[in-house]
């Protein structure tokens, strides 16, 4: 058991819905894996696709982007932008040799602590199945060769 792969997962949560959902999961003492660490942004529309590419390139095993449900965005159309951007990003990841399953875009309202828990648990399992993201090693070796 000690050797079991524990993925290192980053979650972007928007201040108004999904971050509140994560808090609600806590208030409801909903048990979930410890692998996901949340960073709070005001809107999922703030999440620049570059953040995701960079994180995955640096060896982070999976990235979650969680916003308000479509139609419920605190900033009206923020999550519409996120949705559009991430459709493109998902395709791009494939071309870059990154398994697109390492990225998941989803929605959780401030009243959906259970949904947040479900997403975290599911995604952690998905990443466990995919295994470690060894892209960092690849970039590391390449960088080392160039510098020689």
């Amino acid at each position: 058991m000690a050797d079991e792969f524990e993925p290192n997962i980053l979650a972007f949560c928007c201040n108004w819905c999904s971050y509140a959902a994560a808090d609600l999961a806590g208030i409801g003492r909903m048990e979930m894996p410890t692998n996901v660490k949340v960073i709070r942004v005001m809107c999922s529309g703030r999440v620049k696709p570059e953040f995701v590419i960079k994180a995955l390139s640096q060896g982070i095993d999976g990235v979650l982007v969680l916003g308000c449900h479509i139609g419920d965005c605190h900033y009206i159309t923020g999550n519409h932008r996120t949705l559009k951007r991430f459709e493109v990003l998902t395709r791009l990841l494939g071309h870059m040799g990154i398994d697109p399953r390492r990225l998941r875009l989803d929605w959780a309202s401030a009243s959906e602590g259970d949904r947040f828990t479900e997403i975290v648990t599911e995604f952690t399992n998905t990443i466990k199945e995919l295994g470690p993201n060894n892209l960092a090693d690849y970039h590391g070796r390449k960088a080392a060769r160039v510098s020689q």
Binding site: A25, K48, F51
Partner: protein, 633 residues
């Protein structure tokens, strides 16, 4: 979680000079501890690892402020809701995760910057545009709160659509009885300045300091002198020759007139489009109106007058226009005299209306009466929205004609009965029990009104034809003419349906994307009188909040543009949901309106050169935090 271990670990970071634990940091004692430590150690950043920032971020910001440290120098690690409480069965791993969360917060604290809030002055005066029931209510509420209000109405009298109605549903009380006292209150209120027969022509500025140009159209009657006696209208050569718009053109008036007897202000005016002197340059040998006026109020030298008013907030209450059914040939409106609109019926049944309450079509009382619902509403290719008041005014009018003509046959063609308000369904059930036939038809099913002997015949698919001598079209609401122009001037966007858009349908239903501008009544979407009045009071409450004590603090956590970085692509401009971004042609860069920006960061995610960023949420700041949080730095 092993809190002592976490505290010890935190102390080991190079940025950290002090790390302490406390069972209740949010308590008075906890806050005092933080304040003392800031002062004693000259701390310039504080990290709180505790509950969610959603709960006590403000508490701790205040604590920093009290210790004379900039409140934005705070970072929080959410180790309770998002760690301890969701990993109760994973002691070791929970502590490990908390360690990362704290490390990330420490990094965030070291990269964020102190920010200065900007305090701006608020002119403690409001403008309400539109003098229907919503505008009147909003003006009264703001005025009662102690602020000066300019109530601007485009037509000669306040009162709006409600003034045209005979009775109101579901209580059947007389519309004028409820409205007229409110109109008079508005005119008499010491804090309200009524600008009737006036148009808003320009709006500049921002919350707290709007500069609004208002054009007062000439009445050709001195308002200070006019007593409202009506002698001028009696004397007018055009008496009873001009269609009265207020009566939906069913009644006649003079060229010098008031729209209706209870008009406020009760000041006569000359219609420049029908007055002989104005249109033809001559009106007999002497001006009969001027001769008749004992107060010598008639003054054809009057000119339009533009005033510039400075206000802190604006309430839009411009209302709606009734749908024109003549664009739908199948109803034969304007072709068959038997076909009228519901608003026309309102005027006909009204005791002070053009027929003194006598309803006659082709010179006789109607016997077979048909109502048709959803005319101009819920269309597949046109107005897709429901106008929300037609179902109920339909029921009201059906009841009223049945009451007037007990022997008549009243049929209502409807599609869905939307009796959603308080007492609505009970009212509908009562009307149904009065012998009024309700026939359901699908909105897509053809319906046609054709000429027949002694009237018309209504042919609705799936139902037997009805020979009728009066057909009432339940017309819906359309956006008020001029909404587009007003939208351009003020910056409040119109939705696809053409009505003004609220900032957020649930959170901010009366606010708009333009800070300091609020919505009341049908200009936002069709609604009935109770809802209009409620929304008006809500808008007034929000407006009064802004007027407050004359000061307003602007949140500094908004977008800023790095001058050297902006590449002129203007992608961000189209993305902003609040229209807060503009392009500075001189500097060739995007610029942020600090009054409109909400700090969401949607623009920053799209900027190819990272030139635009939200303060303390820049790409560098977020990436630094991510790297430490994830342990890849």
């Amino acid at each position: 979680m092993d809190v002592d271990k976490l505290s010890e670990q935190a102390r080991s970071y190079p940025e950290v000079v002090l790390s302490k634990t406390h069972p209740f940091l949010c308590s008075e004692e906890g806050q005092a501890l933080i304040q003392n430590d800031i002062k004693e150690n000259g701390l310039d950043r504080v990290v709180i690892a505790a509950c969610s920032p959603k709960f006590h971020e403000r508490t701790f910001k205040k604590a920093l402020e009290k210790a004379e440290l900039n409140p934005y120098c705070l970072a929080m690690a959410n180790i309770r809701e998002q760690c301890a409480w969701v990993h109760m069965e994973e002691n070791g791993k929970a502590t490990e995760k908390a360690e990362r969360l704290i490390a990330g917060a420490v990094k965030r604290a070291s990269v964020i910057e102190p920010l200065e809030t900007q305090e701006v002055d608020i002119t403690q005066t409001a403008m309400v545009i539109g003098g229907g029931v919503a505008g009147i209510q909003a003006a009264l509420d703001i005025a009662d709160n102690g602020y000066k209000v300019y109530l601007v109405e485009s037509s000669p009298s306040i009162g709006g659509r409600m003034a045209q109605l005979d009775k109101t549903f579901p209580t059947l009380d007389c519309s004028a009885c409820i409205l007229t006292p409110k109109m008079v209150d508005a005119a008499r209120h010491p804090n309200i300045e009524l600008l009737a027969y006036s148009d808003v022509t320009d709006v500049k500025g921002h919350v707290g300091d709007f500069k609004v140009k208002v054009l007062k159209k000439p009445r050709y009657v001195d308002e200070d002198l006019c007593k409202g006696c009506g002698d001028c209208a009696e004397a007018c050569r055009m008496k009873d020759r001009i269609d009265n718009e207020f009566d939906e053109n069913l009644g006649k008036r003079s060229a010098i007139y008031i729209p209706f007897p209870q008009a406020v202000p009760l000041k006569y005016l000359v219609d420049p489009e029908t007055c002989l002197l104005i249109t033809k340059g001559v009106c007999g040998k002497t001006l009969k109106c001027a001769d008749a006026c004992e107060a010598k109020a008639v003054n054809f030298d009057q000119k339009e007058e533009e005033v510039e008013l400075n206000v802190g907030v604006i309430v839009l209450a411009t209302g709606y226009d009734p749908y024109d059914p003549s664009q739908k040939e199948e109803f034969g409106y304007g072709v068959h005299p038997e076909v009228i609109t519901a608003l026309e019926l309102e005027r006909l049944v009204n005791a002070s209306g053009p027929t003194s309450g006598h309803v006659e079509i082709n010179g006789k009382e109607p016997k077979d009466i048909v109502f048709i619902s959803c005319v101009g509403s819920r269309e597949k290719d046109g107005n897709q929205y429901c106008s929300r008041f037609c179902c109920m005014y339909n029921a009201k009018l059906a009841h009223m004609v049945k009451d007037k003509f007990p022997d008549s046959n009243v049929t209502v063609y409807y599609t869905d009965m939307r009796a959603f308000g308080k007492g609505f369904d009970e009212f509908f059930e009562k009307v149904k029990s009065e012998g009024i036939q309700y026939r359901v038809r699908d909105l897509d099913d053809p319906i046609k009104i054709e000429k027949a002997d002694g009237g018309v015949v209504v042919k609705a698919e799936g139902h037997p034809d009805i020979a009728s001598d009066m057909v009432i079209l339940s017309i819906g609401a359309i956006p008020k003419a001029g909404s587009e122009k007003l939208s351009e001037m003020i910056g409040v966007k119109l939705g696809d349906d053409g009505f003004f858009t609220e900032l957020h349908p649930k959170n901010r239903p009366v606010d708009t994307a333009v800070r300091g501008v609020f919505l009341a009544g049908c200009c936002q979407s069709p609604k009935d009188i109770p809802d209009s009045v409620q929304q008006a009071s809500a808008a007034a409450a929000r407006a009064s909040t802004v007027l407050g004590n004359g000061k307003m603090v602007l949140d500094p956590v908004i977008a800023v543009v790095r001058e050297a970085g902006c590449g002129d692509c203007q992608i961000c401009l189209s993305l902003c949901p609040f229209g807060a971004l503009d392009f500075d042609e001189e500097k060739k860069m995007a610029k942020v309106d600090e009054y409109l920006c909400q700090g969401c960061g949607i623009c920053t995610a799209a900027c190819p050169s990272a030139a635009i960023s939200v303060r303390n949420y820049s790409q560098d700041q977020l990436e630094a935090q991510i790297e430490t949080l994830m342990g890849i730095d």
